[in-house]
Amino acid sequence: MTNLPRRSSALLKTYSVLVFFLALKAAGNSAMAWGMKQVPERMSINPALYLHAMLNPFVALGVVALILALLTRMALFSLADLSFVLPVTAVGYVIAVFLGKVFLHETVTHQRWLGTLLIFGGAALVGSTSRNTTAPAENPK
């Protein structure tokens, strides 16, 4: 039981990194979507078009936030199992539905609300399991 404070602080760290990831992802996607709507050219296979789109400040901001989100997700992989990270980061879908409803005034169907609820419930269930089942320190038995 002596390692209990250490374990709970590791848990707190895992959840802070998770929240940071979700915030970066939501901010990055929103900035990207907002910026791309202002870019007149339609994207194709030509990479120059993507580089030109990045001159838009919102697109650039979105790219930076999404790169940081990628790095944060990697840090999360260092703290928790893949089978833990995947369901709990799916809460991002819930945030996307919420942001779409509040800021972009999108209509959200009953089916989508039901899906959102299932993601939230499922993620909470996974979140209640031991976050790391492969590290020896976590499994004293």
Partner: protein, 119 residues
């Protein structure tokens, strides 16, 4: 063409996440402060499989972008969730993670939710 893109996206996502999860567990616990990010970049530079994992992410990202140009998002999003099932199975059998009843039930609920949100 649409199924080629779906296959490329799913395979790249699965491979990328497995590599990143495996490598990051080996690299030890990381943080997300300014120093943490600098250390993380150093870790990435030293691990080839991690770079391969990030390259897989890029392939998956561009396949998704190409897919949504021709197919509706309501097809692309549920199609991409196929990787969720594969990855969870591989996490058990390749990475030897212990899923347990609660985590399996939660993952299935999330999967059903993703399909409903995308559909």
């Amino acid at each position: 063409m649409k199924w080629v893109l779906v296959a490329a996206m799913v395979v790249a996502t699965v491979l990328g996440d497995l590599l990143q999860s495996h490598e990051m567990k080996q690299a030890g616990e990381q943080s997300v402060s300014a120093r943490g990010f600098a250390r993380l970049l150093y870790v990435i530079a030293q691990r080839r499989l991690l770079i391969l994992g990030i390259a897989c992410n890029a392939v998956s990202f561009f396949s998704f972008m190409a897919l949504v140009q021709t197919e509706p998002l309501s097809f692309a999003v549920p199609a991409s969730s196929a990787s969720f099932v594969l990855e969870t199975l591989l996490a058990k059998f390749v990475l030897h993670e212990r899923l347990g009843a609660r985590r399996t039930a939660g993952a299935l609920a999330v999967l059903a939710g993703v399909v409903l949100v995308g559909g």
